[in-house]
Amino acid sequence: MLDKMRYFIMRALRNMRQWPFLCAASVLTMAVALTMVATFFLVVVNVEQLTQRWSKDLQVVVYLDRAPAPSALTQMVSSIREMAEVAQVIHVTPAEAMAQFRQRLGENAALLQGVDNDILPGSLEIALHAQYQQRDGMDQLLARLKTVAAGHDIHYGQDWLERFESFVSVLRLTGLALGGFLLFAALFIVSNTIRLTFYARRDELEIMALVGATERFIKTPFLLEGALQGLFGGLLALLALTLIFKGILVEIVHSLWVTPAAFSLLFLNGHQQLILVFGGVLLGVFGSLTSLKKLIQI
């Protein structure tokens, strides 16, 4: 048994050494397909992470267009506080709003020089309890807020977030379809590459059959070869993915993001990395299985 296994592995390795170009072609094909699929996966996962985060930050802001009288304001704040959904109400004065805006502009704060301190409206930032931070039931809350803060501008992150989420689900579907297509293409190419090595070695396979080798004995090294190539392809994909992640994705996010520190991109966790590599092995095995089906008959 061990003897046989050693023999199979040796034959698989010999085959790969004998046809380094074909072998490299299979490995690279699988690596490219897996890398593309995994990259798309990373993008989807991170965009999802982002939307989740944004919906967590979901808060309602009442912009006080015309500053209300202090007593009316106190009245408004306390009745909002009484609502079950509301965790906290913070009153932001026009001066505080300006200070925040300055801070956000950072280096560009100089642009605000000479601008009046009360040009921005004051606001009430209403934070919600965690269990209410979703859009179901939000309409109801908003209706109540509208009566309490009549005449003021009420903002919440609903509209664009909803549109963004439907974009994410389109992204996810596209990823699934594209990934499926890529893997299928890789399977096809690998199967044909292995068939080429088959063809290149048909003399050897014919002689094997003629001296009494069973079909399984003839085929096993090719399966092993497919698995090994898949393993290399998977590892290569993992390496490429790491490079793409560190060198491109993170850089893009850093250059786009206003507050880089607040958001850290997710990479594949250990489990997912294993799946990627194992996916390569499966791809290789299936690739050679499909080509072996049409093994020359002797």
Binding site: D3, K4, Y7, Q18, D203, E204, E206, I207, M208, A209, L210, V211, G212, A213, T214, E215, F217, I298
Partner: protein
């Protein structure tokens, strides 16, 4: 050991390679199958190791009917039969040793067993000093001997050889015949296809002559 009953083989509709052939070859016999080119010798041998199926008739090898043998059983039939192919069918990228070991490895034999037997077989054909050469570095006669060593290394019940003296000069052919006769003396049934009358005149044995796919004579010399 080998029995054919009314075997007909046609590759195409309008022609037959073998026609209603019946014959029996006993255990331990040494038989020539003679005939001109196209007489059907190769076809007959190929059917014996199940590379071709008869169109009609039955073939028994070692008591087993191989006429409708399943694909999975063919390897086990072939393990009983050593074949020396007309074109040798050696792997030119492998060493002499590997070529002979190939037959044992294909049958899943253990490594220590393989090396011992390969060495013995190569010694038997006088090539033990050429282990690491590749076939193309050797003469035609030596290549033939590698092919014979590969056929004999598995201790077959039956040895089939297709035109083994075909491209060889007489001295080498004589040497090769010695190998077949030694294998036969150890109990292996030998079937040797040839179109070279000189061969069976020098080493007379049972002679089955084919012509147009039919047996035209089956001659046994008295001396054997």
């Amino acid at each position: 050991m080998i029995q054919l009953f009314n075997v007909t083989k046609s590759y195409r509709k309008d022609s037959v390679a073998l026609k209603d052939l019946s014959l029996e070859i006993g255990k331990g016999e040494f038989v020539y199958v003679a005939g001109a080119s196209g007489a059907g010798k190769t076809t007959l041998l190929r059917m014996l190791y199940a590379a071709e199926k008869p169109s009609r008739g039955q073939i028994l090898i070692d008591g087993q009917n191989i006429t409708r043998i399943g694909r999975q059983k063919i390897p086990y039939l072939r393990r009983k039969i050593g074949v020396v192919f007309q074109d040798y069918k050696l792997l030119n990228s492998r060493s002499v040793y590997e070529n002979v070991a190939f037959a044992l490895e294909a049958q899943g034999k253990k490594r220590y067993e393989v090396s011992k037997k390969v060495y013995q077989a190569l010694k038997e054909v006088g090539l033990e000093h050429r282990l690491n050469r590749t076939p193309l570095e050797l003469s035609g006669g030596e290549q033939q001997r590698i092919a014979i060593a590969r056929a004999l290394v598995v201790d077959p019940l039956i040895l089939l050889a297709d035109e083994p003296s075909g491209n060889l000069d007489q001295a080498v052919a004589t040497e090769i015949m010695g190998l077949f006769r030694r294998a036969n003396a150890r109990g292996t049934t030998v079937v040797l296809a040839t179109h070279d009358p000189g061969l069976y005149k020098r080493f007379p044995r049972r002679l089955i002559s084919l012509d147009g796919g039919q047996v035209v004579s089956d001659y046994r010399p008295d001396t054997v």
